[in-house]
Amino acid sequence: MKLEKDGSLRERVGMIWWVAALAAYFIFPDYRGFGASVLVMTLFALSFGLALGFAGIISLGHALYFGVGAYVAGRMALAGWQEPISGVLIAGFVTGVLAIVIGFVILRLNGLPLLMVTMALSVIVFEAANKATGITGGDDGLVGISFKPVLGIFNWTLDGNLQYLYTLAWLALVFFIARRVVSSPYGLSMAGIRENPLRMKLLGAPVLRRLVVMYSLCAAFAGIAGALLTQNTAFVGLQVLSLETSVDVLVMVVLGGTFSIYGALLGAPVYLIVKYVTQQWNPFYWMLVIGVLLMGVTFFFKGGIAGWLTRIFQGGRTE
């Protein structure tokens, strides 16, 4: 009974989100470029939210897959493969496979060692990318990238019209898949692993393999987000691989709420809009705001925005 009610509530709030995302396209025509970058980060946050919220994989290196996806899309375009949709899919495939290899090694760990290894791995890849100027362009980044029109019809523009709608379509697709995965029996076993890995193991579930599959799926989504960033901006900078990007996405997800996949959808736009506004005043003002926000979320605002909304809609009842 209760589950059903919460479910329909979530559906309603979810619908509002998609309507608002479409409405924003028409209401703020001057901000479509910024809007597209918000949607890219929302997709990235969604991928991380799945890993963190549903698999319980705590990581400070998720930008690794975002960045690799971005560079794969960029290098492919430079090599002549300029069809955008297949470019995104290939980038997602590459990061997904990469995550299988990495996942089998690192997902044996949890807690602090896992946190540290993911962080160190992303530092390693960042350093390597910084030095491998032949592949990544180093500090200058990859420039001179161009893509063919989407579906052969829609041309890339500077005002971000296509970017916005194209990214929104990808986000909708990934969200649809993510929701199916979460509500599937596989998603349920994932929740079991998150809550009690030992018991799941005793029940005969192949814990490591399931974690790796989930991790790989999340990495593929992150790679898709990275490829979209490349296509939207026609540029790849080293920033996509940095520790800051990993921390950004972690904060977005937690701000939105880790217990629901809607958390990422809410956290990323709020985070980026607040960032956009405060950075107009002073870039370091932003760090103060985000620092205070982070401490606030941990101490007073558990469950993030999604948790807060749930409480409001349920008339003050807490779960």
Binding site: L52, I58, L60, V105, I106, R108, L109, G111, L112, P113, L115, M116, V117, M119, A120, L121, V123, I124, E127, A128, N130, K131, L243, V247, L250, V251, V254, T258, F284, Y285, W286, M287, L288, I290, G291, V292, L293, L294, M295, G296, V297, T298, F299
Partner: protein, 291 residues
């Protein structure tokens, strides 16, 4: 042979002094993790705070460097004692994720405040005359500063060894690390020891920040920039194992220096690759299970 000896002495001198700075900074982190099971991503804050105070106080107050270091230490001890009571204490028993978020938030807020106060650039640090200068060894010039760092490290090591292994305070503290509830049951005021240990850790980090400013330049982003390094050392040290953290810090210092000496184009790549392999090999800590 003519090539090898200078190279070896360079790596030894630079690597060991670098490792010692890393060790002095991470002790506090190892202690908080061992004592309170708190993952404190904001520990670098105390190092950079110490550095900024120590190098700015002489011109602000018109005092000498040593007096400034002394005042800095007193200030950092006080500030960290209070912060432990009002902030870090609240992180007990929270999940690792929550601890990571709260402390990284603290770290960000501090970086912003430091930038407001001193600007975003690297702080110009100048050690007093008697610490600078060179000496020659095996036909190569070496800065005296590196030897001074090693001497500082030795003094701190000796002091820590006396404190932890040969005083009542140290024995009580070790009891708290090993078995908190048993320590409580024997009437030890565990909370007070937490605060004091935290303040000691912060004070040592401040010393590390001051002494190590020649290797880890002081800038507002310092606590975030060097976070992967500090955190890796702590993860490899195991919970609350200070002796292991000395070994790990020295290994990191030597490998990083050797890596940058022989293959400078790889940068931090070498040392982080080693660290990842070590953590995967021994997730419980490098010396876990050793007696």
């Amino acid at each position: 042979m003519d090539q090898i000896t200078p190279a070896a002495s360079f790596i030894l001198l630079y690597g060991v002094s670098y490792g010692i700075v890393l060790f002095v900074i991470s002790i506090g982190l190892v202690l908080t993790l061992g004592l309170m099971r708190v993952v404190n991503l904001a520990h670098g804050v105390f190092a950079v705070l110490g550095g900024y105070l120590a190098f700015n106080l002489p011109s602000l107050l018109g005092i000498g460097f040593l007096a400034s270091v002394f005042i800095t230490l007193v200030l950092v001890l006080l500030v960290s004692f209070v912060l432990e009571r009002v902030f870090f204490r609240r992180l007990f028993g929270m999940t690792e994720l929550e601890q990571v978020l709260a402390t990284i938030g603290f770290c960000f807020a501090f970086i912003a405040l430091l930038t407001f106060a001193f600007g975003p650039n690297v702080l110009a640090t100048k050690y007093p005359e008697w610490m600078s200068g060179n000496f020659s060894l095996l036909g190569r010039q070496f800065p005296f500063y590196r030897v001074f760092v090693m001497a500082c490290g030795l003094v701190i090591l000796l002091a820590l060894w006396l404190l932890f292994d040969h005083t009542n305070f140290g024995a009580t503290l070790r009891a708290c690390v090993d078995n908190q509830s048993m320590a409580k049951a024997t009437g030890i005021n565990v909370n007070w020891y937490f605060s004091v240990a935290f303040a000691i850790g912060a004070g040592l980090a401040a010393i590390g920040g001051i002494v190590g400013a020649g290797m880890l330049p002081l800038e507002p982003l310092y606590p975030f920039k060097h976070l992967p390094l500090f955190l890796t050392i702590v993860a490899l040290s195991g919970f609350g194992n200070i002796k292991a953290s000395l070994v790990v810090s020295l290994v990191v210092g030597l490998v990083d220096t050797a890596g940058r000496y022989f293959v400078p184009e790889l940068g931090a790549f070498t040392v982080f690759t080693l660290l990842v392999i070590l953590v995967l090999w021994r997730p419980q800590g490098l010396l876990a299970g050793w007696k």
